[in-house]
């Protein structure tokens, strides 16, 4: 008996030591690490292995913009970098309808200028913000720009500009692609709100684009002139003391009516991102709202007459994280778009993980989702902000770019310990900025590379960060994708906080094919926001949707780009317009941009 116990103890000790050793070795191997290791893989090798290479071309393109952080009141200067950590945005739009995608960058410091880079079509861009009237928009007392989205609210064929701020949001009417007219006064936009997210969408399918604005800080605060320091979230995970959201219905005369309460969007969470698309096949767009310090929300559109928040039932509202992005992508070519949201992962400290919400009952009245981020290998990125799906090597599968990094200040410093003290505390402590330890120039999840995940087919992603582009460790915020040089290739624009943006020109290898569609609504809204395009080829089926902004503080090009791989024929394209009309195109020409007008029959 004694021998038996001794043997058992010996075995127990061996297993115990083995467990300690295995966990130790595994932790040092650091799989999926969020490190800054970069690879020296040359461009040619990247092209050979992954089929694409991203080269920063700011200088060649003539883009000299640099973002400046918003100013904050000296009362909260101890955590200025925390508060002023957003504001860099990028939105793509062909504002002058010349067939070339242009880029609008927001700036945030008092007196700083926003930039509208007109694509000259020769590889160069020219900042025309000042001459068109959308540059000088950060005048002290009017607030700081946080982002912008383009939408043709009056269906005149030119996209107008909605600029959202910590302050007074602005609406600029696009007069023929030559000049912007400020029509904010009387438009119905809020007098003052701390907005960090906005999208255009036609929630009632009346053919007029409406607006959603997501509030972050409470609208009573002017962050550069505060009379209190009690401005912070009441909880790191369960905060309901953020800014209100706004649902603004387009009344058709350049005026927008506030229907927020009427439509049931009454929460006060800290909203950082939103995106809209129809998830139950009734043509009315649902609204996904990503919230910091809380759970995300999913608003079911009930025939355009009201919204019902069903985040918990839909599966997306169970676990509170730090929602900072909402973007759509059909990652396994099954004709269903999922929602990718970003959060925070800092090893050993905070493991939230990003989410990919795959619909599990496509087309039913009440959508529900399952999180496939872990299975797909796109869960852990770092302190992520904006993200976009796009087929970067035209192989027929949507890849993923995620902006990363929170605050890159003094190198080899970390604010995480100080942060954990207050974020673990009671609301009276965390909610008051004066209790937060002074950052003293410390970094927090800084100097991180953005994540680039290559979809190796059927939603299995490979981390190719640092292998398909030179190392860049700016604090990425907004990500937008566009075919900037009309080559049938998706290029990437990343707006970096307090820094220059990164303009990646994408070079492809191989003979992959592509097709793109630029939709124009006739019965539906002119921008065709909400229209869904499904292409079928070689037994595959991919869906994309036209949005009026998605991601974080970003907007992709208006046209939808599909990689086809080696496929040299598309069997069928089906376009589901918001109006309910369905257009089908048989075997469209590939390697071509198709401009499609909604049929009126």
């Amino acid at each position: 008996m004694k021998m038996s116990q001794k043997t058992a103890l010996t075995i127990t000790v061996i297993i115990f030591i083995a467990l300690l050793a295995i966990t130790f070795v595994a932790s040092r191997k650091n799989p999926g690490a969020l490190n800054n290791e970069t690879s020296d893989i040359a461009k040619e090798t990247a092209l050979q292995q992954y089929g694409f290479y991203l080269q920063p071309v700011n200088e060649e393109a003539g883009i000299t913009f640099r973002h400046i952080c918003p100013d904050v009141d000296p009362k909260v200067s101890n955590i200025k970098m925390q508060i002023a950590s957003v504001g860099a945005s990028a939105s793509v739009c062909d504002f002058d309808n010349d067939g070339w995608s242009d880029i609008y960058f927001t700036n945030s410091g008092n007196g700083s200028m926003n930039a509208l880079y007109r694509n000259l079509g020769n590889g160069k861009f020219e900042d025309v913000a000042a001459e068109t009237g959308v540059a000088n928009v950060n005048i002290k007392g009017t607030g700081a720009s946080m982002g912008a989205v383009w939408g043709d609210y009056d269906n005149d064929g030119f996209k107008d500009l909605l600029l959202y701020k910590w302050g007074k949001a602005e609406l600029f009417k696009n007069n023929g692609g030559k000049h912007f007219e400020r029509i904010t006064e009387g438009s119905g936009l809020p007098d003052w709100a701390n907005i960090n997210s906005a999208i255009w969408f036609d929630f009632n399918n009346d053919g007029l684009l409406d607006i959603f604005l997501g509030g972050y800080f409470k609208e009573i605060f002017h962050l550069d002139s505060l009379n209190t320091t009690k401005i912070m979230p009441e909880s790191f995970k369960y905060a309901n003391n953020g800014g209100r959201n706004f649902l603004l219905k387009n009344m058709g005369n350049g005026r927008f009516g506030d229907v927020t309460k009427q439509y049931g969007l009454t929460t006060n969470k800290w909203t950082l991102a939103a995106a809209a698309a129809d998830f139950n096949g009734d043509n009315f767009p649902e609204l996904y709202v990503a919230n910091d310090y809380s759970v995300d929300e999913f608003y079911l559109n009930k025939n355009g007459e009201t919204f019902e928040e069903i985040g918990t039932e839909a599966g997306v509202g169970h676990i509170p994280k730090s929602g900072m992005n909402a973007t759509f992508g059909d990652i396994n070519n099954d004709g269903n778009m999922g929602v990718y949201t970003t959060n925070i992962t800092e090893k050993g400290i905070l493991i939230q993980g990003n989410n990919y919400w795959q619909p599990k009952n496509g087309g039913t009245q009440t959508p529900s989702f399952v999180n496939l981020a872990q299975l797909s290998g796109i869960e852990n990125a770092g302190w992520s902000y904006g993200a976009q799906f796009g087929d970067l090597n035209n192989d027929g599968f949507m890849d993923l770019y995620v902006a990363n990094g929170f605050i890159s200040a003094k190198e080899n410093t970390s604010y995480w310990y100080d942060y954990s003290k207050v974020t673990g505390g009671n609301s009276n402590i965390i909610g008051d900025a004066k209790n937060w330890p002074d950052m003293e120039g410390k970094s927090q999840s800084g100097y991180k590379e953005d994540k680039i995940w290559l979809n190796n087919s059927d939603a299995m992603f490979e981390d190719v960060s640092g292998k398909v582009c030179p190392p860049v460790t700016y604090d990425g915020r907004a990500v937008a994708m566009a075919d900037l040089w009309n080559r049938g290739v998706l290029d990437i624009i990343v707006a970096n906080q307090n820094n220059i943006p990164t303009i990646y020109k994408n070079t492809l290898a191989g003979n992959h094919h592509w097709v793109a569609f630029d939709l124009q609504g006739t019965v539906s809204n002119a921008d065709a926001v909400g229209a869904r395009v499904q292409i079928e080829w070689e037994g595959k089926k991919q869906v994309q949707v036209v949005t009026g902004g998605m991601g974080f503080a970003s907007q992709n090009q208006h046209r939808l780009h599909f990689g086809l791989g080696a496929g040299n024929q598309i069997d069928q394209v089906t376009i589901y317009w918001p109006s309910g009309r369905v257009d089908k195109i048989q075997t469209p020409t590939i390697d071509k941009l198709h401009i499609i007008k909604e049929s009126q029959h």
């Binding site: 297993i15 369960y238 905070l350 493991i351 872990q374």
Partner: protein
């Protein structure tokens, strides 16, 4: 009928509590969990918690039988499992299994004079957090701002540790933490409330009521326990000055076993069985 035997309801409750005190701490930690879950939904997944509890309980049953040739009351293992389930945060399941297993195994492997030296969950959680892996983090975030719920937990916790004759441990630790938080704020220049802040979070509720009060890993005298817990607070103070987020766990992990070892060296254990008033995890 039973009530009449004790004369009055008060006596009945008192007697029942005395005889069945072993079930109070598990019930209390379950209450903390339920409060957090009902009010805020703190559990990302029930599966993780169940894995931790089952691993811990099954581990205890098997190891007690095979290594010690005895049967053990499973209250302690249950508390270990639930502590691991709450204190470890991960998006994958294996850390809950491994942490619970390491915790229970440490009771049977890291022993001196027939007594285990480390508080089980303190050992397991400290090890996993110290590795700083991509898959494991600790519970360092406030569940919410519900002062009423927090007050109930504190009051109940204090009553129970009092009943377990460990109130002096909890009170000494809290007092030491507050004093040292004030000294830290003088050193760092940060607000006193910032230094005090962690004490208001759930991580400390578990630490104060279940880890530092654990009878099997406490030293034998009241005076000794007070000295040890002050030392834990001091080591935590030093670790905090060095920006260690999980300082309390590491401090107990370092001080507790050394103190217990010295105590066992100086005083032979009077009994091998855990006292009835165990709060330990």
């Amino acid at each position: 009928m039973q009530q009449q035997e004790y004369g009055s309801p008060r006596n009945f409750i008192s007697e029942w509590t005395r005889k069945n005190f072993q079930y109070i701490p598990p019930a209390f930690i379950t209450l903390i969990l339920l409060t957090g879950q009902v009010t805020f939904g703190i559990l990302d997944s029930y599966v993780n918690l169940i894995v931790a509890i089952v691993t811990s309980v099954v581990g205890e049953v098997v190891l007690a039988r095979l290594v010690l040739g005895t049967r053990k009351n499973l209250a302690s293992a249950y508390i270990t499992g639930i502590s691991v389930g709450i204190l470890i945060r991960s998006n994958v399941i294996w850390p809950y299994f491994v942490t619970a297993l390491l915790s229970i195994m440490s009771k049977y492997v890291l022993r001196y004079k027939g007594r285990h030296l480390w508080n089980p969950s303190n050992f397991g959680v400290s090890w996993m957090l110290a590795l700083s892996t991509m898959n494991v983090a600790g519970l360092s975030m406030q569940w919410g701002s519900n002062l009423a719920a927090m007050s109930v937990i504190w009051i109940l916790g204090l009553i129970i540790v009092n009943r377990a004759k460990r109130l002096h441990v909890t009170v000494t630790y809290v007092a030491s933490f507050v004093i040292l938080a004030y000294i830290r704020c003088l050193i760092t220049g940060d607000a006193f409330l910032a230094e005090l802040s962690p004490l208001t979070g759930p991580m400390y509720q578990l630490f104060i009521f279940f880890m530092i009060t654990d009878p099997p890993t406490s030293v034998s005298t009241k005076k000794g326990r007070i000295i040890v817990v002050i030392l834990v607070a001091v080591v935590e103070f030093v670790l905090r000055l060095n920006h260690s987020i999980y300082a309390p766990f590491y401090a107990l992990c370092m001080v507790g076993p050394v103190a217990k070892f010295i105590d066992l060296k100086m005083n032979s254990p009077k009994e091998q069985l855990k006292p009835a008033g165990a709060m330990g995890s």
